[in-house]
Amino acid sequence: MNAILTPPRPSEKIQFQLWAYKIKHWARHGAAELVCLTVAAACLFPLVWMVASSLKTQSTVFSDMSLWVSHPHWHNYYEAWTRGHFSRYFFNSIFYTGIVVFGVIWISSMAAYAFSRLEFPGRNVMFIIIISTMMIPIPGSFIALYVVLNKLGLIDTRLGYILPQINGGLALGIFLLKTFFDKLPPDLEDAARIDGCNKFQVYWHVAMPLAKPAVAVLAVFNALAVWNEYLLAMLVLSNRSLMPLQRGLMVFQGSHITEYPLLMAGIAISIVPIVSLYFLMQRYIVAGITAGALKM
């Protein structure tokens, strides 16, 4: 009986083949891991080096190339925050990002809800016109935008920096949310309507809570875009007290060109919020890019 149940010992030859296969498998696997780890290191290295440099002093930063700083000079951050005015730029960026994200979500969700659920003349034409701006590149439009802002007296004002960016987020926002609303079953909304809700109440109390995942994607995307925006800030804002971080970094670099540790501290300050947001919400970011890109 036992002789039947125990498998026969593999012959020498088969055992050799098995080992060859295993080695080949591990070699391939190892090579793949190695490539990926190298690239990952190349991604992280400049950032690690930037943080390390931000903790060195002006006298050691050019001679000491080590990544590990044994005597971190945290004072650089205080200097950048106060003397470099990064506190001001920082809160400006927070303010602009918050307002634009809020504005985009509010305005585009209302419009998307109307395009998806309400009946009115001109609905489809308006929708198509708004969406078409996502497809047509108009690289010179910032010139005319500047002219418009000038006419409205919005140059060098917070509003002049905020409104065009809210507008910039609308096309994607309306597109994303309309597709989302289209897929929602209308039963819940019908029930709410029968219970006596008017259109605004249905939109606000029924449709919006259901749209949370799409709203999260939208919020992250717009937050990244506004936080990293530079061109419009350069054209619209010349008053230093209104500038966001990206603009502030360039101004700081222009006037303190050799103070590398302080500049690196400023950069570190500028990326902390956006990188934290990225780590917290990266699930939504990946979902957003892939959904947006693959549906086009």
Binding site: I107, L118, A144, Q253
Partner: protein, 299 residues
């Protein structure tokens, strides 16, 4: 007396209230500027004076025939684009293929590779500025350490290497984005297809060329065209590293449009450059749409 249906009117008004804020912003900041660009492009205007001088198509003639710096900037951007298309997308594809199949920690790599695209062009430019710096840059330090002291140079200030260095920075920032889209495309391919082919005795290369590539063609075209559109309009990295220099070696279309507008106060001319550039980009996206339609028919 025409009977007015008040309920219906009220209904319509509320519907329009939903789209009103979006429509208002859109008209003021998208539609009006769009037409304004075309109007301004046929005028000579400094952006301040109340009088604009009509010059017909002179701005376009100047742009096409009399402004070598414009075409230099187009050529520079095209070169960066070509390098990016070739190297960035190949790297992104290779990484996506590896991570899609044989590796643990998919999510770790996805998070790390997408970190550079999350940073602003300004931040990336300023950090790399120092890495490529001539006197105390990290790259030169590393080269000297490896005994390659003869290769050291001010990478971003040397006419020979400036454009390529900018392209390297741009690709460092951008490959993670291509990686994420390509990986999503690969993961959308049904596993059973690959397995069935393997059971039928197809090798890795055959699976790649007969299954992966045909199914991924639309994604390849999409990534390519978005790479082209994004790279041609490169700006933040330029302004935070070379600002167009040395000479005109890293000038790109957006910096030229800005110089025409802010530098020499020729708003009309800047608009005509913008339109020319926009038309070229539009042609690129049209070609992509055609190719994409064609490829999805055959896959």
């Amino acid at each position: 007396m025409i009977p007015v249906n008040w309920n219906r009117t009220k209904d319509l008004v509320t519907s329009y209230l939903f789209v009103f804020p979006a429509a208002l912003l859109f008209v003021v900041f998208s539609i009006f500027p769009f037409f304004k660009v075309f109007q301004l492009s046929v005028f000579e205007w400094d952006g301040i004076a109340t009088q604009m001088r009509f010059v017909g198509l002179n701005n376009f003639r100047d742009a096409i025939f009399r402004d070598p710096s414009w075409w230099i900037s187009m050529r520079n951007a095209s070169e960066i684009t070509l390098v990016t298309l070739l190297f960035q997308n190949t790297l992104a594809l290779v990484l996506a293929l590896i991570v899609d199949r044989e590796i643990k920690g998919k999510n770790f790599y996805r998070v790390v590779f997408y970190l550079p695209p999350v940073l602003s062009g300004i931040v990336v430019g300023l950090v790399w500025n120092w890495i490529f710096d001539g006197s105390h840059g990290l790259l030169n330090y590393a080269l000297t350490g490896m005994g390659l002291g003869g290769w050291t140079r001010a990478w971003l200030a040397d006419p020979k290497t400036a454009l390529l260095s900018v392209a390297v920075i741009h690709m460092w920032k951008g490959f993670g984005w291509g990686f994420v889209i390509l990986l999503a495309g690969l993961q959308a391919i049904p596993r059973e297809l690959n397995e069935a082919a393997r059971v039928d005795g197809a090798g890795e290369w055959r699976i790649f060329s007969r299954i992966t590539v045909p199914l991924m063609l639309p994604v390849f075209f999409l990534v390519s065209v978005l790479t082209i559109l994004g790279t041609m309009q490169i700006f933040d990295i330029i302004i935070s590293t070379t600002n167009g220099g040395p000479g005109y070696h890293t000038e790109v279309p957006i910096t030229r449009i800005l110089v025409a507008m802010v530098g020499s106060s020729r708003f009309g001319y800047a608009c005509s450059l913008g339109i020319l550039f926009g038309l070229i980009l539009l042609a690129v996206s049209m070609v992509q749409m055609r190719l994409s339609k064609w490829s999805s028919r055959y896959s």
